[in-house]
Symmetry: C3
Subunit: 269 residues, 3 copies
């Protein structure tokens, strides 16, 4: 049987020795480990962006995948290292909120504070816990060491603030959660929320306001728009996205993470 997948996400970049040391450490403990990179280029120290990237991809991975997430402004401080088991997956990460979106979505079975030094490298450094503590724990877990061995259960863990969208009459108020590589602006508004509003009411027109711009073009996919046209649509994560066909909505609108969006429906009278 194939060994559990270990999926890595860090803010280490790929130009240095950091990621390589994680992989070497894992392979030294479990030569059959199957390691997959999620990304090593989330913005440095940005816990929310990291939690969003993880949230956007984890469910596509095989059951029992171990997610090793190292985005960690507080390395070496007193914050805990967490090991979480959910219905379908395992997660190892610092207790800084980066896991809260995913573990709550996938149903928490147990959360432990990793303390058993037996599974760490000898003489762990105080500045690279990823290599010296977290990677070895992931490797041992991929060899099916039971969660209980790594430390005792905890009942509290840090959460990122979730910023849910709000419906007010014929409006939905939301925010930009993430700007992807193409400059698409991913909002926190579920497509279904818009769809529901549209069906419930007898909607004639729908538009989205962002950065003092009104976008009227609500499409099924990018290529329904003209080249260079601003549009909004239900994206691949089930969330409303703002895009420019073959261009960057981020550049065109000078928008960024955190900016407000308003979706307004107007009904037939």
């Amino acid at each position: 049987m194939a060994s559990r997948v270990i999926a890595l996400m860090t803010d280490f970049g790929k130009e240095d020795f950091f990621v390589a040391s994680l992989k070497g450490t894992i392979l030294k403990i479990n030569p059959l480990a199957r390691i997959v990179d999620i990304t090593h280029r989330v913005p440095s120290f940005d816990v929310f962006a990291s939690s969003f990237v993880l949230f956007s991809t984890f469910q596509y991975f095989p059951l029992q995948t171990i997610f090793l997430v190292i985005v960690d402004p507080g390395v070496g401080s007193s914050r805990k290292i967490l090991l979480a088991e959910t219905k379908n997956y395992f997660f190892i990460a610092p207790d800084n909120g980066v896991l809260s979106l995913v573990i709550e979505k996938d149903e928490i079975k147990q959360i432990r504070k990793v303390t058993n030094e037996k599974f760490f490298l000898p003489n762990p450094s105080s500045t690279f816990e990823g290599r010296d503590k977290m990677a070895p724990v992931a490797a041992w877990l991929s060899k099916e060491v039971p969660c209980e061995e790594f430390g005792h259960e905890v009942s509290h863990y840090k959460k990122v603030s979730e910023k849910r969208p709000q419906v007010r009459g014929n409006e939905i108020l939301g925010r930009i959660l993430y700007v992807d590589k193409f400059g698409n602006l991913i909002t926190n508004v579920p497509f279904q929320m818009v769809d529901f509003l549209r069906e419930k009411r007898n909607v004639e027109m729908i538009s989205l306001f962002v950065k003092n711009t009104e976008i009227l073009s609500f499409k099924k996919n990018y290529s329904s728009a003209k080249k260079g046209e601003l549009l909004f649509l239900g994206g691949s994560l089930g969330l409303i996205e703002i895009a420019v066909r073959e261009g960057s909505a981020c550049e065109k609108l000078k928008a960024e993470t955190g900016d407000e969006v308003r979706i307004i429906t107007r009904c037939e009278t």
Copy 2:
């Protein structure tokens, strides 16, 4: 026996969740899949550059490798998803021309339009066909599902325009096809074409014109030139390249893809 290699090429970048979702999807279907990244950094939406990168590397891969190529300005539009089997390989890509160079080089056995929803993820989104349709098809193909199962054969597919070099007397007229990471300018002129001209005629001098600059230094390799010197040579793809030793020909000449080059031979009299 090892499972077929799946080689990925996209314009998704590595900073987001896109590539990870492809890999997770593949591993969920085929836990033994061997996934290799070609690159995820071809210029966004640039079909020709992508087809050239693929062309430059595919023959180095093991027989039966499955190339999954997702560079796709037309995602969600009515353009087809193609599955091509050639003499030695398989290719999955949108029907936008990105495959034409390679499949014609490797001898086409069959080309099919992928339509069988049985092999897609449930409820595929209209904006991320790579994850929801193409990656699962690649995964099933790596498990040796026969090509016939994915859809019916087609006889037409899109091609990129090829821009072949021309010989006129003692001149070869060509173009810059690609600028690599070092700033080397790769042309469409085969080294053999120059070699042939040189042998057939009693050539005394050979030079290359590009961007109003004449380059006289025709070398066997980079290190035959002085540091900083402009030269041209037969590169590792069998094509004439323009280079600067330990420098960037692209920067030095302000040249780019599409620029014309002329190679001129002068004979003994």
Copy 3:
């Protein structure tokens, strides 16, 4: 048993076809090869930075890992391709100094000049020896072909200059060896050297001078400092590093590789 790991380090970047061609070539020869990327983004042609990155990570890899290192301003020139076997590892690299730090650290068993064309691709190009000679040699070595088969032993090889730190009374004079992705400045001064000085003498105060700035904050880890504060500490490589908590020491100090650092201790009187 799992096949030997092949760890790749190059200055090729990931945007082109270079790295993919190495991997394809390896997998064609050894379908079971386990390939790990160290990095492909060391600064172009920078032999010292490459040797330092390799030095910083190699010991975390499994025994018998084969390190394939292609950073090569002299490609195609007369410089040799080396195959080194040390106590625990194998290394393949051009003879340009990139291996000297690691092989001396891990105890050299044999060094050979790779010459046996039987293990090269047919008709190797003169500009991409990595693909045509070095990658195939790594692949055959991962299939446990004995070192003797690849070429004869050599007694000389190029070395990078090592720049050891010096102790003068109550001062240590060192240099910045490497700037990592976070802007941390890694020096050549071992933490133990500072620790030793501190214990031997009755040290009351310790400070570090770099770029006309005196840093007084000597910490155990990043998070012992305030956000934005300059500090120095014993880093994860056992070397003194200069850092800014959640910021870039490189930017703040306008410092770079090669800059001098002085660590000064003052004793109780």
